[in-house]
Every structure is written in structure tokens, then in C-alpha cells.
Symmetry: C2
Subunit: 612 residues, 2 copies
């Protein structure tokens, strides 16, 4: 039997377009001699359809295309694909979920001879439970729709959907000969190894070959943009890889199955390094997200700092230098050093470059606001004064909301957000200033990852794209005389330590408690904990050097924690969408609200004891 | 038996503060002679704790205060209160949810003689299921922790939590004599009547008195701010109201229970009209949210249009005119009419007023950007030109991100977002321009509700606060010569129709499908459908007058639908938090993503048929 696994690109909430892609792939599979073609989970509607699934007519449209696909399954070929199906179509019964919604199914559709048959995904994530039904809740016996194999040309297929199904201990029917898992899951650092392990375990536990078919593409949840890497694998019953599809591209893999033996035409593609994979994901994410939004031109405020430099290098690669314009917006606080970095960068890339000084505009705003007198009906006067911090923020907003917004709209394009995860954590950025832009492609990278990616880009291209100088100077906002890269006056964030401290708050499923951090500090074990066993420049000595006493340690800890739970939340609420790289980005997956910092009794008690 | 129901103000994610409030209320209840005091659901931690519940130390802190409350329950008084409890505390067992989280309980805690006893809420909303466990999923028998009554001084109390529990058909144990439901649910239009009906039904179905104890306060989910109205009721076994607490304020109600008879000290407060209740909710929401954020001063960009006028009137009432500054920012496109409205408004209110013209800044930006030449390394030139729409948007951003942001920070305050739900639906606003500000207090009101609230404010105060003129002119952005209130040239939105069309997309749990709208148009039944049986200025003739043919109807429908699902999504992603008034606000409760408009086959087929 010839089986084609179709790792296709899927568009969220666009069944008409996905159907065309599936139709073309079925035709191609037929040409390749296939008896069975397998598409990813939710291939008709996409993974992140949000509340489109509340729209009955949208679900009906998906079901219309499900049937259109069934019509493609003539006697010569059978089609396995994922889609949404109404509960009624599958179970001839309507069910209302606890959310008040009509239950739908995340269905594995089996199209044979013009007819549809269903298997149902039951290992649902929390987000899926918003629209799809857990069997426990419906009271319906799902068994026939889950474990029972499907026979195609005499071969019994055991069908499951989603990565979480692979983890289920429940074995498939002993009658099945081959396991097929369709999936549509977004990329994150380390995902491919995890999937491979799951698929291998499944094959070995069942002593059966496993085909894992994923999809590629870019989808979003509003606050986050996700890349889908595919990660399609074919594993034989001994747990060995027979076929591995390349990441982030479409792939129709030809597989031959005969009496328990599984073979593939091409072999195994090499798995890239972690930093290479992050790079690949960002380039793919930018390229596809822009295409989906119908965007071509991108403007980047190039300060000569490391974040905007990295963003420029990435966009140039993703969309071409001819579609990229770097704008440097100096005031008297900007050094020749950073201005020259921005210019070199544009030269290295070959993109457009302009300088738009903002001194005149800053002066105008200062003139209009500093000393402004307001009056009330009684004739009282209120005079306003600008503080230094206000003047810093005016510069940031002038660059983002005045210059970049105007330039990008004049060019019929957009401008980028270049914030990283470190500054996002503590709100070290100005709302409507650097917190602006259509998309934050590096918003899920800690500062040390920003540097690592810059170095990788230079290594990979074998020449200086990222000017070496930017990797040497201190990171600085250059918004006042107190921030001077030439005098080594930079950001208040001590990156080697704070990067990892902040990661302990955000990157873990259970954040490191403040009282635990303080306890580890007093015991001299904090660096080890923050490094999570990975190599790092952070040592216990480094921490002690910066915070010799528990009192100083607590003051710093509380300062950043207050920012993390305070004003930075308000900034994140209005921040642009962030490309997800880690399992724990800011955005849709993290529920946070503006309630301010709360210090537990456990922390306050320990502090009173050791730093009182 | 004397029972006190304590409708207290609860702070989200601040157990230390909530404990102090509970301690003081217990002391007060003792003075009032109580044997039992009842607090709302989740009184220790608040309703919207977001992912704070992922923090083990936070949950431990809540449990510490649960025990502190238990210590207040000496022999003389028993305390019923809601809180989070770890699964381990209640069931002596750890459970991991499908989300990978440790299961917690939304617990009804019963404190007697220094000891804690638990009953568990099982009618969990979707959002609650993120952290709390549905019994179906745990495999544990919850029965003893749900239906079994609690005996206090020989009287058997049946305890439930949450509004959804009231809807459950499952009856409580026949052994109980009095039903107590503790709740902590946010306000929305029409909520109080719904709760009252549920409580009455519960009393009649069981032939028992019901005490419903809610909490007040303001909580947020990041993208939405919610007011909690309390809605506490005492209903006797005949279903009659014995006591109704006032909305949006704290209330300790003294109730006497003897042998099935229930009495209260004070009677029933009058239920306000719907518009009065909306007004009350907004005032309360502004006041408490600002207090929680530590804010005092508010700046409003007063254009002389109806939205900013309403916002100014509301803020003046909520925080006092002395804390409010209106800033008018004219260009040559602004009429004397609207400038005078803004001035009269400030006079009527008695707040601060300033005029900051933006013509000079607009000219500067035009000079810097229009004709700006960028170069690349090859020496090629790229020249930018500003289109009229770009110049409109520059004005909006100049007002928001330059002037208002600078003024509010100089005054150590914030500026408001004055967008309404109609313009939010289709993105008729500029990002970083009028889409900016710390909080959108009127963002869940349709344009016709904005007018209704303006009229209500004038009626209620018995004088002109909202200048009459603003209710008479056409709504207009005044960003070009084509938008002139004196020549009746206003917004492109036909409010009487589009307000209700957009509501059919957003205010219904299942949105009105485009093909249904088109079908109703062709049949002459669209106005009736859009009005939902409520009185409205919208008639079928009005629709026909504006769209005489199906082709024109479809063109308009598609134009706004494209905006609704297109660029407006990007604007909503970066929009300020919105105060929730309806059950369906934009923000956290609505999952939407940037995927563009999708037209179903059903719509395209019908359109081809009737408008081809």
C-alpha cells in the first residue's frame, strides 16, 4: 500500500482555501500512486479559529468542505483528514457545553467512496474545551469513535489526533496494524525532540509503525503569533525513524506499507541546532504572517542598539532588503557610535535608510507642555511642569507614534516592535513609544538570546551583517545624558542576573516564589537554581558582588517584582502581538491582570528574619 | 438565630487585605449579635486572580488566611466564606488538571470553633476550569463535599456557590432548612433580575428560604474591567423578597431565622432603571479602578464630540472636577461649534481646561515625512508622500500619543480612552491616536447608548452638564475638510442601522450570519430581526432608503464586515482595557484573531442569486 502523508500549509479559519490546497494535494497523491493520503489535524479550519466556532454558518461551511473532500475519495483513494464537525453530524445529537456553546468535535474524518466516517479527539487541551466536548461531560459513550480501528483496503488503521493523545496510556485496539496520529501544533523550542520521543514510545509500546502527520503555517490568537513546524515523522515498529519531514515547509512523503513493514522514499532530514531552529521559526513567522496580513513594506526604528539591529537582520532575510526601511531618529542624547551602527547595519543589509532627527519636535512639545496653564470656571490656574522622565518618554513616543507610524503609513507598510522578553517583563519601555508596532518578532527572546541570535546570523552568513560594535557596547536607551554608551552608562537591568531571575518568574509553569529566591540567596544556591543546570555566565559570586547584603538583594528583588506585577502589566495589555518561541510567552497563554504586586506572608516573614 | 450577610468589597489577589476586611466585618457582626456571618464566594482571593493561582506560594498564603479566619470563629460565631483551597487540603490528595496545573478548589469554607470544613463548587465556568477541578475529571466522589448540609447550632444549612449552581436541577439534601448561596459575579445589564429569578426559583422549588450573598468591588482580567454589584438577596420559602442589598456598596444585613421563618431588619431597596444602573456601574468602576491603580488625575481630550463629552461628565462625577483636565486640541479642521462645546462642558463641570493647538506639530511632521528621501547602499532613492488619510491619522496620533500622554504624565496622571463599541467594532479610530489611554469606560456602549447616557446625566442632575448642542450635531471626526459638523458632514457610519447590525455580530452568543441578514433584507424582515423586539428608531424603510438594491446592501455589509474581521482586530489587540457593561464586550471574553474576513459559501451563493 502506498500512503502519502501531506504536511501541508494550513490557513486558520479559511476552509475554502484549505480545501483548494487539499484538493491539489489529493490529485498529487494520486499521481504518486497513493491508496491513502493523510492530512493534518483540523486541516480544513486550522488550529486557532478562536470564536469563529461560535458562528454556526462557519461550522456549516467547514462541514460543506468536509463533504467536498469526501467526494474526492473515489474508489481509488481514501483520505484521512482533520476538521471540525458538529456534534450532530457525528453523534446525531446536539450537546450544549458548560460554556453555553453548542459542542463541536475535533474530528478525524475518514473519506472513503464518497462517504465520511469519524473518529474523535478526546485528549483536549484547555483551549479546545472552549468549543469541543470532553466525553466525560457529554455522558455519551465515545468508544466506537475513538479506539476502534478503521479498515482501508483490508488494513486496519488506529487513528488518533493531537500530541496529547500520544501521551495517553490507553492502548488502541489490538486489531490495528498501523497507528496514524494527525496533529496541528505550534512550534516551541525543543518541541521536535519531545514529539519524536512520544512517537517512538508509542511505536515501541504497541510494537507497530506510527505515522505522525503535522501541518505547517502561521496562525495567531490575537496577542500571539505561532509558527507550525510540521514535525511529521514515520517510525517503524522498532521505534526507528523511517522518515522525517523538513520543518516549516510543505512536504508530501511517500510511504510504502506491506505486512507490518514500513518504508519511505527519502530518508531523514537533519535536525537543526536550537538557535538555528529559533532563527528558522522567526524568519518563517515573519514571512507568512506578513503574507497573511497582505503586507509588503516594513519600517524599523534603528537606534543602533542590539534589539532593533537583530530585528532588521531578521526582516531583511524574511522579506528582502528592498522591502525594508531603517529609520534612525537621533536627538542630542544619541552617540555617533550608535548612529554609525545603524548606518553600517543598513549598508550590510542593503536596505533603505533615512535619518529623521526628532530634536525639533521634542523642543516643540516641551514648549507646548512645560509651563502650560489650564484654567477652571472660577479662574484658578494650574501649571504643568515636565520632569526629566517625562522628557525621556516624549522622545520614545515621538519616535514610535509620530515618525515611524507616519513613515510606515506613507509607504503603505507597517513598523515593527523590537521589544525583548526581558524589558517586556518589567515594562522597561514606553507605551505608544517603543511599545508599539504591528508585530513583536523577538518579543519572546531574553536579552542573552538576542545576542546569541545576532552572533548566529553573522556566523551563518559568514560575514558581518550585525555590526560587531553593537555586540560590544552596553545596552542603553540613550534618552538622557545619564545614558551614554561611550561612557558605559546603560540600562538599569543587570542582564546576566535579571534575565535569569525574570525567567524564573515567567518560563516555569510554577514560578519561583520570592521567599524561595531569598532563601536560596542566603544559602548561596541561587545561581545554580536560576541556571536550571544549563551553562550560563551567571555565578553566585556575580550575585553577591551586586547584592552584598540580603537587604540590598530584597530591595532589588522587590523593585523589579513591583514593576513586573505593576505598570508593566498595563503595557503588556496594549502591546503588539508577540511571536511565540518558548512554551511561556507573554500574551494569550498567560492570564494576568492589573492587580499590582503582592508579597506573601512567607516572604515578608523571611525578609524580616534575614534582612530586617 | 441572627445571621449577618456581609456584602463586602473584595480585592482581587490580595488575601492580606481581604482578611483585614473580613476580620473587621466579623467583629461588627458579633456586635450585631450574630451567630453566623456569611461572606461572598472567593472572598479571600477575589474572583479574577488570573494565573496567580499557578503560584504555589500565593495559594499557600490564601490558605494561611483561611486558617486565620477559622481562628476568628470562636464558640460564639460561625463563619461561612469563600476562598481557594488546595486539593490536598480538602481531599488529602493532589490532582493534576488537563492543563498541567495542580487542581485547586473553589471552596465554601465553614469555620466553627477554630476549625475549617469545606464544601466545593462544582458548577464551574470555563474560565474557572483553568484552575479548579470538575468532579468528572478527578474521578473522586465529591458528594460529601457538595450536597451534604452543614449544621450550625442545630440548624442545617445547604451551601452552594456561584450563580450557575442556582441553575442546577440537582436538589440539595432534604435535610437542610435553609439554603445559602455565596457568589462573586460581575455586573452586566439585566443581571440583577436574572439573579433574583434564580433565587426565587430555588426557594420555591425547595420550599425553603434562600440567602444569596454577593460581593462588591472592581476586578479586571487585563483587557476588561468588571464591576461587582453585590446583588445580595434574602428570599423566604414563598419566594418573596425579605431583603435586597443596595448595588455597588458594602452592606451588612441582619437577618433573623427561626423555625423556617426568615426576617430582616431593613426592607427592600428600589431597583434602578437600566440606564441608571449602567451609569452607577460606570461611576463605581472608574472610582474603584482608579483607587486600585493609585491614580488621582485624569486628562481627557475633549473634541466637543459626544463620546469625550460623556467621558468627561462621568469622570467628573466619579473623581471630582478638581482632578479632571479637559484638553481641546484644534487644527484648522475643527469648527468653532465643537470648540465651544468643549469649553461649555468644562464650565458646566467646573474642571480644568486647556487648549493645545496641534497645527504647528502637524505641519512639522508633514514637513519631515512628506518628500522624505531614503537611500540604500547602491545610492538608489525612495521618496515618501503623505496621502490625505495619512494626514488624518497623524492628527489623531499627535493628540493621543504626543499631547495627552505628555500632559497626563506631567500632571502625574493618565488620559482616558473614549472609544465606543460601534467604532471599536469596525476600527473607526487610529491606533496610538484615539486608540490609546489607560481605560475605556464607555467602550462597551453602542453609539445610541452614548446619547442615552448623556441625556440621562442631564435629566438626573436637573441641569445642562452635557451641552445640548453636542446632542444635535452630526458625529464627526473633524480630521479633514470633508468632515464638517456645520455642514452636516459626519462619520461614514449610519448609526441607527449599523449600531444594530454590529450588535447582531457581537452581542449575540451566536452571531447573525451574513447570509441570514441578506435573506432577511430581501424578505423585508431585517429591521425587526435587528431590533430584537425592542423599540428602536430603525425601520425597514430606513434600511431600504439607504440601500435600495441588494447589491448596495451587500457592498455595505461586506465593507463593514471586512473592517470588523480585518484591521479593527489589530486595533482591538492593542486597545486599552474596556469596562464591561454587556455580557459580550470586546476583550478577554471574546477570542478573536487576525485572520481577515471570511465569506461562507452560503453567503456567496445567496448573493450571486439576489445581487449577482
Amino acid at each position: 500500500m502506498i500512503i502519502i502523508t501531506a504536511q501541508i500549509e494550513i490557513s486558520a479559519a479559511n476552509p475554502a482555501q484549505n480545501f483548494e490546497k487539499i484538493r491539489a494535494s489529493v490529485a498529487r497523491a494520486k499521481e504518486m500512486g497513493a491508496q491513502v493520503v493523510i492530512f493534518p489535524e483540523l486541516a480544513v479550519c486550522g488550529a486557532f479559529t478562536a470564536d469563529k466556532l461560535d458562528e454556526d454558518d462557519f461550522v456549516a461551511d467547514c462541514e460543506y468542505y468536509n463533504q467536498q473532500i469526501a467526494d474526492l475519495a473515489d474508489g481509488s483513494i481514501s483520505i484521512i483528514f482533520g476538521s471540525v464537525a458538529s456534534f450532530k453530524s457525528v453523534f446525531c445529537k446536539e450537546i450544549i457545553l458548560p460554556t453555553g456553546r453548542k459542542a463541536k468535535c475535533n474530528a478525524i474524518c475518514i473519506a472513503q467512496n464518497g462517504h465520511l466516517n469519524y473518529r474523535i479527539k478526546t485528549a483536549l487541551s484547555y483551549d479546545e474545551q472552549r468549543h469541543f466536548a470532553l466525553p466525560q461531560i457529554t455522558g455519551i459513550n465515545f468508544d466506537a469513535f475513538t479506539a476502534e480501528p478503521v479498515t482501508i483496503q483490508g488494513i486496519k488503521f488506529g487513528l488518533t489526533a493531537g500530541n496529547s493523545s500520544l501521551k495517553l496510556r490507553r492502548e488502541l485496539s489490538p486489531m490495528c496494524e498501523i497507528i496514524v496520529n494527525i496533529s496541528l501544533s505550534p512550534y516551541y523550542v525543543g518541541k521536535k525532540d519531545e514529539i519524536l520521543q512520544l512517537v517512538e514510545d508509542k511505536a515501541l509500546a504497541n510494537n507497530l509503525p506510527v505515522i505522525y502527520c503535522g501541518g505547517v503555517g502561521v496562525e495567531n490568537t490575537g496577542n500571539n503569533v505561532y509558527t507550525f513546524d510540521g514535525s511529521s515523522f514515520v517510525i517503524d515498529s522498532q521505534g526507528d525513524i523511517v522518515r522525517q519531514s523538513p520543518s516549516f515547509e510543505e512536504d508530501l512523503a511517500k510511504i510504502e506499507y506491506n505486512n507490518g513493514e514500513i518504508k519511505a522514499e527519502r530518508g531523514v532530514t537533519e535536525t537543526p541546532s536550537q538557535i538555528a531552529e529559533i532563527h528558522q521559526s522567526i524568519i518563517y513567522g515573519i514571512r507568512i504572517f506578513m503574507r497573511q496580513c497582505g503586507l509588503q513594506h516594513v519600517v524599523i526604528g534603528a537606534s543602533g542598539g542590539v534589539d532593533s539591529t537583530l530585528a532588521a537582520a531578521l526582516y531583511a532575510e524574511a522579506i528582502g532588503a528592498e522591502n525594508l526601511l531603517l529609520v534612525n531618529m537621533p536627538t542630542k542624547y544619541n552617540s555617533q557610535t550608535t548612529i554609525q551602527i545603524a548606518q553600517s547595519l543598513a549598508n550590510n543589509i542593503g536596505c533603505w535608510y533615512a535619518s529623521v532627527p526628532i530634536g525639533e519636535s521634542l523642543a516643540l512639545t516641551q514648549r507646548q507642555i512645560d509651563g502650560l496653564i489650564s484654567k477652571n470656571a472660577k479662574g484658578d490656574e494650574l501649571e504643568l511642569k515636565l520632569a526629566p522622565i517625562n522628557i525621556e518618554n516624549i522622545q520614545a513616543r515621538d519616535r514610535g507614534s509620530r515618525v515611524l507610524a507616519a513613515i510606515s503609513s506613507a509607504w503603505n507598510g507597517v513598523f515593527t516592535n523590537n521589544g525583548n522578553k526581558t524589558e517586556c517583563t518589567v515594562g522597561y519601555a514606553t507605551l505608544y513609544g517603543d511599545v508599539s508596532g504591528f508585530f513583536g518578532a523577538i518579543g519572546d527572546l531574553w536579552k542573552h538570546q538576542v545576542y546569541a541570535l545576532c552572533r548566529y546570523i553573522n556566523e551563518k552568513s559568514g560575514r558581518e551583517i550585525v555590526p560587531q560594535k553593537v555586540l560590544e557596547i552596553v545596552p542603553s536607551a540613550e534618552l538622557s545624558d545619564n545614558q551614554n554608551v561611550d561612557q558605559n552608562l546603560g540600562d538599569p537591568i543587570i542582564y546576566p542576573y535579571h534575565d535569569r531571575l525574570f525567567a524564573s518568574w515567567r518560563d516555569r509553569d510554577t514560578p519561583l516564589a520570592l521567599h524561595t529566591a531569598l532563601k536560596l540567596y542566603t544559602e548561596g544556591n541561587l545561581a545554580a537554581e536560576l541556571n536550571c543546570g544549563k551553562p550560563s555566565e551567571l555565578t553566585e559570586e556575580f550575585i553577591r558582588q551586586h547584592f552584598p547584603t540580603a537587604k540590598e538583594f530584597c530591595a532589588d528583588l522587590e523593585n523589579w517584582y513591583r514593576k513586573y506585577k505593576g505598570l508593566s502589566v498595563a503595557k503588556r495589555i496594549q502591546a503588539p502581538p508577540i511571536l511565540r518561541i518558548t512554551p511561556n510567552p507573554y500574551g494569550s497563554e498567560y492570564r494576568e491582570n492589573a492587580v499590582g504586586a503582592y508579597f506573601t506572608k512567607a516572604y515578608l516573614d523571611l525578609k524580616a528574619q534575614v534582612a530586617g
